[in-house]
């Protein structure tokens, strides 16, 4: 191989990973990629939006975590047949009374929630995650979500229908 050809081959080899990176789909929650979003409630004050009940305690922070357990769960799912993707998310919720009078510090959804994703929206049927133009995501209740305190058979709380939370992409450590 001539020197110029070798140089070209070397340059091409260097460019391949970059080209592969560019080819990664620009989608919400891309495959095999960890993610952490952190935010708070932005539900617009409107008549008819259900209130937090039993207890009437609002949410102070929400985290969406897609780490090793979620990716491991996704890996064992059957490949999608209709072009859409299935992802697993952990929704971790902190209420205003966290740690007070024995209240749990955090609540979370189940381990095996699956969301069906298009480019900008992932839908669990009872809630959605929607990518916004500014890079944030909206977690929107479309039916409501029960979250547990992590102890089997004990207290649950509910994120009511039509409540909305805006979350910002954050380092993975922010979801701990």
């Amino acid at each position: 191989m001539s020197a110029p050809a070798r140089t070209l081959a070397f340059a091409a080899a260097l460019m391949l990973p970059a080209a592969r990176a560019c080819a990664e789909p620009d989608v919400l929650f891309p495959p095999a990629t960890v993610a952490c979003y952190v935010g708070a409630e932005v539900t617009p004050a409107a008549a008819g939006v259900p209130l937090y009940r039993k207890p009437a305690v609002p949410v102070t922070a929400v985290r969406l975590e897609r780490g090793y357990p979620q990716l491991a769960d996704e890996e064992k799912q059957a490949p999608p047949t209709e072009g859409d993707r299935l992802i697993n998310l952990r929704v971790i919720v902190t209420f205003a009374d966290a740690g007070k009078h024995g209240a749990p510090k955090r609540y979370a959804n189940g381990l095996y929630d699956l969301l069906r994703c298009e480019a900008d929206v992932c839908d669990a049927n009872n809630y959605k995650v929607e990518r916004q133009a500014d890079g944030t995501v909206l977690l929107r209740m479309t039916g409501g979500l029960y979250v547990g305190d992590g102890t089997y058979g004990d207290a649950n709380r509910h994120l009511p229908d039509r409540h909305v939370y805006r979350l910002v992409a954050s380092p993975m450590g922010s979801c701990r």
Partner: protein, 201 residues
């Protein structure tokens, strides 16, 4: 005639009795008869202790290792929790093993701990979480001779994905951040041997 009827009735009764005996002696086809995952290392109804302490030489050879000692203990309180969970109908996500993880970090004299509830995961491992700060998890697998492997994070599609578990109940409430066992380069896999209970304290 009456004698014949009596004899037939007797034969019928014996057959029903025999059928009942057979039905009672055949194990049900559900998984209830299957032994619990890692039952040899973490025997149901019996306490257990597995521990590993890294000596000065090992720590010197792995300067990035944060963990100086790690132990997994099941006491009478855990056995009671396991009995309670065992009485529930079993679904995916029903815990089967209760334990306490204790970790001493390099340069920190305090032993930190997390109460674990473990479900049966894939590939013959238990998936253990702490209810104090949900989100983190470790996995526990058997490695023969009643020893255990504790893993933090794992390899997916040939790439290691790190993870963590909280070692206290502060969650995000602690100044300086939560105390976690996280999968640094030298803190991903720990081999724990069966040990006397004193090694777990």
């Amino acid at each position: 005639m009456a004698g014949l009827t009596e004899r037939l009735r007797s034969i019928g009764t014996k057959r029903i009795l025999a059928a009942l005996v057979v039905m009672a002696s055949v194990p049900p086809l559900t998984s209830a008869a299957a032994p619990r995952l890692l039952a040899d290392a973490l025997p149901p109804g019996h306490p257990s202790c597995h521990a590993r302490a890294f000596g000065a030489a090992e720590l010197a050879a792995h300067p990035d290792r944060r963990v100086a000692a790690i132990a997994l203990e099941r006491t009478a309180r855990d056995l009671a929790a396991e009995r309670k969970w065992g009485a529930f109908e079993q679904f995916d996500g029903t815990p089967v093993v209760s334990a306490t993880l204790r970790v001493r970090l390099r340069g920190d004299p305090v032993t930190h701990s997390a109460r674990l509830a473990c479900i049966e995961g894939d590939e013959s491992s238990l998936v253990c979480t702490s209810s104090a700060c949900v989100g983190g998890e470790i996995r526990i697998a058997g490695e023969g001779r009643r020893a255990l492997t504790v893993s933090v994070g794992g390899t997916l599609s040939g790439r290691f994905i790190g993870h963590y578990i909280h070692l206290d109940e502060s969650c995000e409430g602690r100044v300086g951040g939560p105390i976690v066992l996280e999968s640094g380069d030298d803190d991903r896999l720990f081999s724990l041997a069966p040990a006397p209970k004193e090694a777990c304290r």
